[in-house]
């Protein structure tokens, strides 16, 4: 047996002799590996972004909002009210918390600092439904909501922008010239998967927002209602019960369209996660098939190469090559081809992954494991599909091989 380094050197020399053919053969593997890498990276990226969305909404999450398309046709309530939210909490079972919501945005002033941010009016249920933690100070409570106190709980970004190096608790900020006292700070959630800063907001009691900030004509009017169910399986029930209850409360006659919509966000996300998983499995399997096709290309070329180089094999055998030497020579050629293809494929796959992901807005995720796996797999393809031609070469009889024209 000759040494492995010599076998590799011989293989590389043989491949260099037929550069175009070697590159074209490797191309099959390059494309195969690149698609495997890209498919799995995009799939992992999409899954992660959905997981993040689920986490940022909070789990078991249903949202009720007024349906503006129905507004003109119905002469009824048209809006959701605080008492709608209270009724849902009271009458629908399987609910952990209900948060009536008012969303607005405005500039906030503290001393000379001015910061434009979004302001949420809600109740103590808000942090339960949206899964926010209080980092310091306290959350708003029931009496804040009942009395409409001018207090605020602020997100981390507000602290960083308006109170650098200062403790914001107890400080007074002005929103629409109304002073609010800061009573607490939320722990950071960071960026959402869509790139929004989730910490850039202020929470005030619902009633204070109604009276001081949005000043709706209709008393008790709110924006949306967020509901947190006790479990994922309770969500469908909560959804239909909420629909029945609100139709009743809004006096919608049978056959008339709802003036509200109930969206089971968690279930929608869960369904999207399933779709994404199926899509990435599908993409991945197509990619694996193309890698196998690349392997068959290698086998094809190696078979041609063995036939073309029969005389070379004869010469090598005549001067003392054993059948294992010949087998290794061709096998290593196939392996070198597929590993070069694998390496270039990884590089191409990373580019392709970013290119593909630009359509999905979720950045691709490349793991060391997936890259290693693709590389090892391409080497295995080389061994798998290179073995038969190499074995065939090693079976040649020296005298026949030498006579081959």
């Amino acid at each position: 047996m000759i040494s492995m380094t010599e076998i590799f050197r011989t293989a590389i020399r043989a491949l260099k002799r037929n550069k175009t053919r070697s590159m074209l053969t490797a191309l099959g593997i390059i494309i195969g590996v690149a698609s495997v890498i890209a498919a799995f990276a995009v799939g992992a990226g999409a899954n992660k972004s959905i997981d993040e969305q689920i986490a940022s909404f909070g789990s078991n999450f249903i949202i009720v909002f007024p349906d503006r398309s129905a507004m003109s046709t119905t002469g009824t309530t048209r809006y959701l009210t605080h008492s709608d939210a209270l009724a849902i909490e009271r009458e629908v079972s399987g609910i952990e918390a209900v948060a009536p919501m008012i969303d607005t945005s405005d500039s906030v002033v503290y001393g000379n600092t001015n910061w434009s941010t979004s302001i949420t009016g809600s109740t103590a249920s808000f942090s339960i439904v949206r899964e926010w933690e209080i980092e310091s100070g306290r959350d708003i409570n029931e009496s804040d909501v009942r009395q409409g106190t001018k207090v605020a709980v602020i997100g981390k970004t507000i602290v960083n922008k308006m109170f650098p190096g200062e403790n914001p608790i107890g400080k007074s900020i002005r929103i629409k010239k109304v002073p609010f006292t800061i009573i607490g700070v939320f722990a950071s959630k960071g960026q959402s998967s869509m790139g929004d800063d989730q910490d850039d907001f202020i929470l005030v009691p619902l009633t204070s927002a109604q009276r001081r900030l949005v000043r709706y004509n209709m008393p008790g009017r709110i924006g949306n209602i967020f509901i947190k169910g006790v479990s994922m399986s309770a969500l469908s029930y909560i959804q239909s019960e909420t629909e029945i209850l609100l139709r009743e409360r809004h006096k919608i006659k049978p056959g008339e369209a709802d003036d509200f919509a109930v969206r089971n966000i968690s279930q929608m996300l869960e369904a999207r996660r399933k779709t994404t998983t199926i899509m990435s499995m599908l993409l991945g399997s197509i990619a694996v098939i193309s890698l196998v096709v690349g392997g068959i290309g290698i086998m094809n070329i190696m078979l041609v190469s063995v036939t073309e180089r029969t005389r070379e094999i004869g010469i090598r055998m005549a001067v003392g090559a054993k059948s294992l030497d010949i087998r290794f020579q061709f096998l290593i050629e196939a392996v070198v081809l597929s590993m070069v293809g694998g390496t270039l494929g990884i590089v191409l796959g990373v580019f392709a992954g970013y290119a593909l992901a630009s359509f999905t807005s979720a950045p691709p995720i490349f793991t060391v494991t997936s890259i290693m796996l693709a590389f090892v797999f391409s080497a295995l393809v080389g061994i798998g599909f290179g073995y038969y031609p190499a074995w065939k070469a090693s079976l040649l009889n020296p005298i026949d091989a030498l006579k081959y024209e």
């Binding site: 000759i2 003392g320 054993k322």
Partner: protein
């Protein structure tokens, strides 16, 4: 014990359903240091005999002893070891690896012998210099004349210090002047290095360099005698 000993060697081929025997009991003994030419018309069995002698082919019956070893007992890889270490081949068509320079071609037997690179290079260079190719070390076969290519092939034959060189029509593709040069090289390594030489040819001018001439006809040896008029130069 003789260095090469063939006794009652037969060789048959199957052509369709017929068995055709083309060697009918060859007996041949060659001592170390001999220079034997095997002559005969084409189809006389001289090349088949040479292939058996070179461990490239196996006889149908009979025994072959090489350097005291019974070749009949050996299979594939063991024969490869014999071809590697004991026999140097020179072919009519040179049989050099294409797109591979002279050094690498000559190194080939040493590579399969598992010799380290540095030693391989020294030995290959030495053999090529001995063949007068010191300024052609890194030329590829297409850059060399027929005579030069055959000298590379001889260098490959002697590089592993094989005690016997087997040459099958080594001058078949060469003009007469180049043939003379090549035959002188064979004569030189036979006389100076004591390498045994077995040569297949159908040209009397080539056979004239040998010390002993064996004639083949129809798969049998018809004459085996000393060459009393060895060509001096």
């Amino acid at each position: 014990m003789a260095f090469v000993e063939l006794s009652r060697i037969t060789k048959s081929f199957t052509l369709g359903s017929d068995e055709v025997e083309i060697l009918h009991g060859i007996n041949l003994t060659v001592e170390k240091g001999e220079f034997v030419a095997m002559m005969g018309p084409s189809g006389s069995g001289k090349s088949t005999t040479m292939n058996i002698l070179g461990c490239l082919d196996k006889p149908t019956s009979g025994t072959y002893l090489l350097n005291g070893q019974n070749i009949n007992d050996l299979e594939g890889d063991d024969l490869a070891v014999i071809r590697n270490g004991t026999i140097g081949f020179v072919f009519q068509g040179f049989n050099l690896l294409q797109k591979t320079n002279a050094m690498e071609n000559v190194e080939l037997p040493l590579l399969y012998a598992g010799m380290p690179k540095k030693e391989r290079r020294e030995r290959a260079k030495e053999a090529l210099i001995q063949m007068g190719l010191e300024d052609r070390l890194y030329h590829e076969p297409t850059q060399l004349s027929g005579g030069q290519q055959q000298r590379v092939a001889i260098a490959r034959g002697i590089v592993n210090r094989a005690p016997i060189i087997m040459a099958d029509e080594p001058t078949g593709n060469l003009d007469s002047k180049t043939s003379d040069e090549i035959m002188k090289l064979f004569k030189k390594i036979n006389e100076e290095d004591g390498i045994t030489i077995l040569l297949v040819t159908h040209e009397p001018e080539v056979a004239a360099y040998a010390k002993r001439i064996v004639h083949f006809k129809d798969g049998m040896i018809t004459s085996d005698e000393m060459n009393l008029a060895v060509k001096i130069s």
